[in-house]
């Protein structure tokens, strides 16, 4: 019985000869909102996809609540990719049905309430919604699960400010002491108020971790400022 929600040890991933993750070590405890922060190409998405079960590591270990990536771990993980993965012809309620069928921790009542607040009818098909609304519907569906680990890959990239507030709002409202939310982003100043901890990732390795409040108390610095310092010479 382990309390760590996510544990990576010497996690390495190669795409052919390109190295995406370089013997990465990381441990996440429960009840935290964590920012996975790094420039583009640093390995954020690769790490998240391995945790979600979409990629198999080249070497090293990864454990989600003690489970290796498997149907058991997938039942505990809620993954939100950058794009919508529901088929265009599906109605909103059919997406809910799908989640209800496969995930025991799906709270359909909560999902329906949130959809109603958005002003979207459950009968609407995905293709009838705007891109922004589609993404919000998917966010609502994914966040309506009582998962142990939420993996949000760039949830606010390319999103207008009002929608961004809605997304952060939804994340905060769905916070629970039993789960961990990992948000990967390169838009740090927009999310840092929401974070408990930050993880800097660079060239497939964890560069630095820490608590956001501790950083602000002890060094009077925002995470955004620290990031700029640390990655100053990042030329991409």
């Amino acid at each position: 019985m382990t309390s760590s929600v996510l544990e990576c040890r010497a996690l390495t991933k190669y795409y052919g000869s390109t190295m995406a993750l370089d013997s990465l070590d990381l441990t996440l405890e429960k009840g935290r909102i964590v920012g996975l922060l790094g420039p583009n190409g640093s390995g954020k998405t690769t790490l998240i996809k391995i945790a979600a079960g979409l990629l198999t590591p080249t070497s090293g270990t990864i454990r989600i609540c003690g489970f290796a990536p498997s149907p058991e771990s997938k039942a505990l993980v809620s993954y939100l990719p950058e794009f919508t993965y529901f088929e265009n012809h599906m109605r909103v309620r059919e997406c809910f049905e799908l989640f209800r069928d496969f995930y025991d921790d799906f709270d359909e009542t909560k999902a329906r309430d949130m959809i109603r607040d958005l002003g979207v009818s459950p009968e609407k098909r995905m293709r009838e919604l705007s891109k922004g609304m589609k993404e919000k519907v998917q966010l609502v569906t994914v966040m309506s699960r009582r998962s142990r680990l939420f993996l949000l890959d760039e949830p606010i990239a390319g999103v207008d400010p009002a929608s961004r507030d809605y997304i952060l709002n939804t994340i905060i409202r769905n916070y629970s002491e039993d789960s961990t939310i990992l948000i990967s982003t390169h838009l740090i100043s927009d999310v840092e108020n929401v974070l408990d901890d930050y993880v800097f990732i660079r060239d497939g390795k964890v560069w630095q971790t820490g608590s956001v409040e501790a950083l602000r108390e002890n060094e009077n610095k925002s995470v955004d400022a620290l990031f700029r310092e640390v990655f100053r010479y990042e030329v991409r």
């Binding site: 009840g31 935290r32 909102i33 507030d165 952060l168 709002n169 905060i172 409202r173 916070y175 100043s189 108020n193 929401v194 974070l195 408990d196 956001v212 409040e213 602000r216 108390e217 009077n220 610095k221 925002s222 955004d224 400022a225």
Partner: protein, 119 residues
């Protein structure tokens, strides 16, 4: 009330200050019920743990009370509220005087300025 944070100091401390100001101004009435920690955090777009920490401090200062199984409310202790307002005024004045000093004004000049302004 408006939730605005700057990028420097810890958020919890900034929350405490903002709530104190709101109570001192009367934006938050004495005895008024506060939303849940999560609601407040969502409103302010901050981390719930941070909001919790700030509310704890406010409770320790006596400005916020927790009623078990019901929620949190602003204190009805008008003495305390006045004392808080006075403290905030003091801090504001101190900051103002420090500003003026850094701009090269001495006590007499500041006094004269205030006389002209206030009359």
């Amino acid at each position: 009330m408006k939730w605005e944070f700057n990028g420097k100091g810890p958020i919890a401390a900034q929350i405490v200050l903002l709530v104190e100001q709101a109570i001192a101004r009367g934006e938050l009435a004495p005895g008024e019920w506060l939303p849940s920690v999560r609601e407040l955090a969502a409103e302010a777009s901050v981390n719930p743990n941070t909001m919790q920490k700030a509310l704890l401090e406010l409770e320790q200062n006596g400005l916020v009370n927790t009623v078990r199984n019901t929620g949190k409310s602003v204190t009805t202790d008008t003495e305390l509220i006045r004392a808080t307002r006075d403290r905030l005024v003091e801090e504001s004045i101190r900051a103002f005087l420090a500003d003026m000093k850094s701009l090269g004004l001495d006590r007499a000049e500041v006094s004269a300025l205030m006389e002209r302004r206030v009359s």
